[in-house]
Symmetry: C2
């Protein structure tokens, strides 16, 4: 079946909303953060650990799975859920983001994108139709339209041409889409220009997608600009469909996204930070390699309910990451993902209680101290 | 409390025996295989996974923990169990094996061993007293005497001198031993010479250790020689104490050891093989990188009850190990350790049923085909 979004409540003072998404693999609550399982595995974690983290839905990578092990193999295994034995909802991206980072500008045509494999340099050609065909075979719960991922900043003229291409590609993908169990999302592009975001959002709605994503953010713009891009998109999206902000996982960006009406987020940040010995905490990121944790026999966070915090001390995790022991990255990944899913749980509670702005203020004070975050640069989204 | 060994039954046709070992952290059955947690972590696995593997007891490495994070830090954490949050029995080795592989012959004196740290070349000096002092602080359930690990082959004269040194070192360690919750084992050396093994075994018993280990095997000798070394040792050990064969984890060696009256074994083999994409199976080791598993949607072993076999296919694990994804090594480690703990479960059943020789014959036929294994070289034991 197609997914079904139900809006349960809007927050009084902002556009924040809570709801549920019903899928073939169960129903989960929104707002929700999706961990990234690039190559059909969230690095280091088992499916059981993902269920325990209450992450609701995970993301897998069409480009990477197309190359290895190939969509036909996964299809033979019975689809992505069976292949990786993950019995929760899965969203696949379109492969666009990875492909655009590998292609040169002159290799991008209306037909599709020419680029070379990052593995062996093989020449490859990805089109909207091919991306959908691969995703149909992967049999994820939600597939994404193939869109043009433009750099930031881009001129108004460039963005305008690009939005037209993204819209044509969305339509071409929709036409060949052929999987009744799967839902298809359109992606709103348009850079920092409100009229372009509006035009793109409204045009996609005419094509009637099962949900809508916001693309082209978190590509090096400052946070204030990013939040505008989000605002200019959700403003023109229907309230009865899911809104997904792609590649965003910085805690404050999730809060600001939710305030602007976003339902789901994904990012490699929690697992990538973990592999670099970093942990999210209420008081900002900490690096466990820092010698000050050498004899710190307290958990990463006292009030966290994750397996890492319930069972291990900073001193032990520091020992593991210093020696590059696998368990270190695993425990930090568990904590960092749980940090973000707990954040979304908090935000759902705030939406119930109409106090999300107070929550944000308190969060920012703890996380950044007195510093402002609006002029900070956003980071890349891809893996 | 000190450990308590109870002999429950001897097999009728061999020296194989089953029993239980009572420790501060629960009672486990023997024969038993101990996974190696070199640096206070069995590579990639959580304590919960180790409990689920029914491995009874694990081994940690005194040399590695001495260097990093240091025994004082672990002592401050409340001992090794609390530091790594492992609530099952732990045995620590003496550090001897690692140290001897780093030292030059002229650096080995009656006083102790001079060597350079494998990390930064710092000059270090390890003595029997220091090894015990470190282990007392680590607070494992079983500590090992510091012994001289000699190469193979070694002349009778060399072995004789070395056994005398090992005996003196055992006594020196015993004298300074100071931890009431911990048990101390002596180590039988003596190379391939029965009278030396006998002399060493009987001399150690006069000192009255809490259990006895067999050292100096699995250092490059052929399997037939190794089995003799084991036989020459267990023959002269008391029946009311634990016998531990150090550094042995090849399945057939475990069977042959049990047949000669050994109770516990340890080896890095299952986890090291896992990190090199290998899995134990009834029909011998397999390498998951082999392309023949590309579309093999069956588990590593149909009748295995481990998390990897219950949930994943060879095709998926092949995908993971090909891409060097952490989950691959983790799943293979789980399977390989479980393979060996299941083997010991089988052997306990055989001891009950007095049919261990039939079991061995069948096992060898499946594992090696028609080939003989007696002339195969043993592999190194250290990590």
């Amino acid at each position: 079946m197609k997914i079904k979004y139900s809006l349960l409540k809007k927050e009084k003072n902002t556009d924040a909303r809570m709801g549920t998404i019903e899928t073939n693999y169960g129903t989960f609550k929104t707002p929700m953060f999706m961990p990234v399982g690039t190559r059909a595995t969230v690095k280091g974690l088992s499916p059981q650990e993902l269920y325990d983290l209450n992450c609701g839905i995970i993301l897998a990578n069409t480009y990477h799975l197309w190359l290895r092990p190939g969509e036909d193999l996964i299809s033979k295994a019975g689809g992505l859920h069976k292949f990786m034995n993950y019995n929760g909802p899965i969203l696949t991206d379109s492969g666009g983001f990875q492909v655009f980072s590998l292609a040169r500008p002159k290799d991008i045509t209306d037909e599709g994108v020419n680029f070379k494999s990052h593995i062996d340099g093989t020449k490859l050609f990805l089109t909207p139709e091919k991306s959908i065909e691969i995703q149909n075979k992967l049999d994820s719960d939600i597939a994404m339209s193939f869109d043009e991922c433009i750099p930031y900043p881009a001129t108004y003229d460039y963005v305008k041409k690009s939005v037209e291409r993204t819209l044509k590609w969305a339509l071409r993908g929709k036409k060949v889409f052929n999987n009744e169990r799967q839902s298809l999302f359109g992606i709103v592009q348009g850079g920092e220009y409100e009229d372009m975001r509006k035009y793109c959002a409204l045009s996609l709605q005419k094509m009637d997608f099962d949900g809508y994503a916001i693309g082209g953010t978190s590509v090096g713009e400052d946070k204030e600009t990013m939040y505008k891009m989000v605002q200019y998109s959700t403003k023109y999206l229907p309230t009865d469909k899911v809104r997904y902000l792609m590649g965003v996982g910085d805690p404050i960006d999730i809060i600001e996204g939710v305030i602007r009406g976003v339902d789901i987020f994904d990012c490699v940040l929690p697992t990538r930070l973990a592999r670099h010995a970093n942990a999210f905490t209420k008081y900002g990121k900490i690096n466990l390699k820092n010698s000050k944790y050498k004899e710190d026999f307290t958990p990463l966070e006292e009030d966290c309910d994750c397996y890492a915090c319930k069972n291990f001390t900073k001193a032990y995790i520091r020992h593991l990451v210093t020696l590059d022991e696998m368990l270190g990255a695993r425990l930090l990944s568990i904590h960092n993902i749980r940090f973000l899913t707990r954040l979304t749980e908090d935000l759902r509670e705030c939406i119930k209680n109409d106090n999300i702005l107070e929550y944000k203020e308190e969060f920012v004070k703890n996380y950044y101290g007195s510093a402002s975050y609006l002029d900070k640069k956003t980071t890349g989204q891809g893996d």
